[in-house]
């Protein structure tokens, strides 16, 4: 029904246009009016409209600016963001001036000098002085914009001070996982081949490698068994598929065995300082908390496709790229609670959004970010479980763990660890 209605409207619209233009053509023919002779009357009418347009245009601009100002992002909740907002305002001040000047000149001239039969245009092919002026003035303005812009850029992207605590953000279709270093203050190595239900980030530890190898052996054995047992029933293409899959599984298992060798050598050389020793106490959570006024380095990785970690309130963004690690650092300055007061919205949450097209549910790949006072943050962190150390079986030991974790985390936050932070493993 709706379709028919729409079609009818379109058809009627076309018919109306056809008839109107026919009427116009006939009357034009009667008046001996030719299309190429744009009459001075037509020019004048359009000139008036061109003169009027900037009023509507600027009014629209002002209305949008005034009416939607309160819905723009609130005051920046990170230190970087404050610098960025200042830079943004500086740029706007320049651009809005240029916007008004150029538009007023454009529409005023277009409207003022419309065609009149008794006039003649002023032959004015060029003027070096003017041309030099509007080359040099924009150049000077650009230099100012570049210098200020790069100054802020350099401040934001400068390497963080050694020992800045790290938090990992791990992206996958269509959710985020956070990883915090455990008692040792360092993130352990990872390998994507170790990823399974128990180890969603593929953290490499002697235990996780063993478990993954066992799992792969079981899978391989099952597939081998299937190939033998169902040889008679399996259609050829299904069988090929199974064989290819089996080869793939064996290859993965082979790589994991290589990884085990590497790990064993590394542990033999470095002992407890091996990056494969850091992972056991890492905290893998589906929540994202940060302490206020503590600089933090975010280590960003992806499991499958490119995502982008976007925190609009922090004015922070960095792509998550499979196969590489990206990093940003920032210092949140306003807690979630304070921002709730500022926004008059008791339900307000900072958000971590995905901002790089990543698949069908891209639009709902989000995680709230809680910024809280350091004390509350430490309490929250202490309640989390280590990847291997803090399984549910150890709940009775929790109080002790808590105090320990608190102490260590506080150390990690305030002091500079002697060793470089654990690099996620790269092949």
């Amino acid at each position: 029904m709706m379709t028919l209605l729409i079609l009818a409207v379109i058809v009627l619209g076309i018919l109306a246009v056809t008839r109107l233009s026919r009427v116009y053509e006939l009357t034009a023919a009667l008046r001996d009016k030719r299309e190429e002779e744009i009459s001075d009357r037509d020019s004048k009418m359009n000139a008036r409209l061109l003169m009027a347009f900037p009023f509507a245009y600027f009014a629209f601009f002002l209305w949008l600016t005034v009416h939607y100002k309160k819905h723009m992002l609130p005051v920046s909740a990170s230190e970087n963001g404050v610098w960025l907002d200042d830079l943004m305002n500086f740029n706007w001040a320049i651009l809005i001036v240029a916007f008004f000047i150029t538009n007023i000149l454009l529409f005023y001239f277009a409207g003022k000098y419309y065609h009149r039969k008794d006039r003649r245009a002023y032959y004015y092919p060029h003027n070096n002085k003017w041309e030099l002026a509007w080359t040099i003035v924009p150049a000077i303005v650009m230099i100012a914009i570049i210098i200020y812009g790069l100054n802020v850029w350099n401040r934001i992207t400068a390497a963080p001070p050694a020992g800045t605590p790290q938090v990992e953000l791990y992206a996958q279709q269509f959710n985020w996982t956070a990883r915090y270093p455990g008692l040792d203050g360092k993130l352990g190595a990872t390998d994507f081949r170790l990823i399974n239900d128990k180890n969603p980030l593929g953290i490499v530890t002697p235990g996780s490698i063993k478990e993954r190898l066992d799992e792969l052996d079981t899978l391989i054995a099952a597939d081998e068994k299937r190939l033998v047992n169902e040889d008679a029933y399996l259609p050829p293409d299904r069988k090929d598929e199974l064989e290819i899959h089996l080869t793939h599984e064996r290859r993965v298992a082979g790589r994991v065995v290589n990884l085990r060798t590497l790990m064993e050598q590394d542990i033999a050389e470095k002992g407890e300082a091996s990056q494969y020793k850091y992972g056991a106490d890492d905290i893998v959570v589906k929540e994202f908390h940060l302490p206020v006024r503590v600089p933090v380095e975010l280590v960003i990785r992806s499991k499958d496709v490119i995502h982008s970690a976007f925190m609009p309130h922090m004015r922070a963004q960095m792509n998550a790229v499979p196969g590489m690690t990206t990093r940003i650092h920032m210092k949140p300055t306003i807690t979630t609670d304070s921002m709730r007061t500022i926004m008059h919205d008791p339900a307000f949450e900072y958000l971590l959004l995905c901002n790089k097209i990543c698949g069908a549910n891209h639009f709902n790949m989000q995680m709230p970010l809680t910024v809280e006072p350091e004390g509350a943050y430490n309490v929250w962190l202490a309640q989390q479980k280590g990847f291997e150390t803090g399984g549910p079986a150890k709940t009775e030991a929790a109080p002790m763990d808590t105090t320990q974790a608190k102490a260590t985390t506080a150390t990690a936050m305030n002091e500079t660890p002697a060793l470089p932070p654990g690099e996620p493993k790269k092949n």
């Binding site: 299309e35 819905h71 651009l95 001239f109 060029h126 914009i145 081949r193 004015r315 196969g323 092949n427």
Partner: protein, 602 residues
Amino acid sequence: MSSVATAPAAVQSHGHAEHHHHEESFISKYVFSQDHKMISKQFLVTAIIMAWVAVVMSIMFRLQLAWPNEGFAFTHFFLGDKWAPAGVLKPDMYLALVTIHGTIMVFFVLTGGLSGTFANLLIPFQVGARDMASGFLNMLSYWAFFISSVLMISSLFVEGGPASAGWTIYPPLSALPQAISGSDTGMTLWISSMAVFIASALLGGLNYIVTVLNLRTAGMKMTRLPLTVWALFITAVLGVLSFPVLLSASLLLMLDRLLGTSFYLSEIHIGGEPLDHMGGSPILFQHLFWFLGHPEVYIVLLPALGITSEVIATNSRKPIFGYRAMIGSILAIGFLSFIVWGHHMFITGMNPFLGSVFVFTTLLIAIPSAVKVFNYITTLWRGNIVLSPAMLFSIGLVATFIAGGLTGIILADSALDIPIHDTYFVVAHFHIVMGMSAIFGMFAGIYHWFPRMYGRMMNTKLGYAHFWVTFICAFGVFFPMHYIGLAGAPRRYYSYSEFTMFNGVIDLNILVTFFAITGALAQILFTYNFFHSIWRGQKSVQNPWKSNTLEWTSPVKPMHGNWAGPLPTVYRWPYDYSKPGKAEDFVPQNVPLEEGEEEVHG
């Protein structure tokens, strides 16, 4: 370009008087034509059809954005139960529509359609040549374009849906069907279509370059070329240098997809399995893509700027102000466009110092752009402006070029890019500066040169209505998007109702959709006017706009070889409008200088 000032005109005045008037068959005249005028019409009509496909797509996703998760008969009519059950667009189809809308608009309408139409029409006419250097390659160029259009459209009908990784097709999303269903056959067709498209662009581009360099008529020095030809010439150079890079990038992607290579893929775990790909880099693809992608922006924009330069001068009855500065700015923009691609990648984790370099080169482009704007404005100053529909669209272009150019300064600043990268602010920026400017330039060109193409005139009153509705709707659609973006709303989101943070601005989406639908309906006026005028428009006179360039010295009825007698000889630059001491307010290029008359170069 060392030949700019000195190049002697290629002498091409051998009489074409023998007039071999062999009868052409329907096929050789209208289908496999080698005549530049027919090929230009073929490009234009194909582009209009493709543009409608892309416009209908945009209406479907605009409906979804304005009224998320509501059913629309319009959407259901086109997509059926599979992609829009009960008229509610599905999220993966939403992404597919966004992807194909962008692809069609950027490549098929604003590259193939704009350059294909006007380079073919105007280069031989305005340099005074009988046809393109190679009519046969030119024909191949169109038919490759046609085949690529068919391939792109056919991808809409495959099982998993068309490509849906965004028009920038970043891998791994575009490489892995496990990641999104459009990355299956749909993406294969997308890449195939683009490969053929690139062949078309290269065949066309080489032809344009050779024609401009070698087939200029006697007296047509490079410094007497109309700015349209300059713009189309530099556009062709940009295309020839950059499109092959996209071809290579796409071929490597194809290898990753079909043969299991690892150019762009590494350490990926998807569908519950680790993949075998190791050692590639998705960022490599982005470098290759944007090495084309940024010059592509100017491949889209320069022809439009060239067209408006010509239209504004003709209709202001005044020389274009600063002709040489205009050429210089085209050259500067063309050169700079090759060294700014990294500004699309500030937040990919690239070295911050490299980012600074791209900030610097990008912001440099603002200077030649500003020169262009001020030169346009000065051309209007004290003109005697005939406000034809073409002129209105040209003024519209300057307005959108200002609005979009200024926001470009924000986005080019790497630090400011961090909070607004990939938000609606970007969508607003490039639709205004690239989409609207280029399409306004294209409309200006169509209204202006329609009589040259078809020997008839388009209806002026409908042209006015078309301009005003389109112009107002362009701002109505894209201006509010800046605010949606500054509120932090990411682009390519199917809906914004999953959080409360955008509630304050999201009602703007309804306003935007209202303008989008109105703007789309206005294009019916244009389409009707265009096709109606082909057959029923008022017959055109030889030089309807009293213009100086050579195309208006050729007979109204298109003829093979363009000029019946010898080729015209050029004695002056194309912008002698309202020259003091002349009776008429225009002096065509083929009119010799009078005794004691001084030749002027802007």
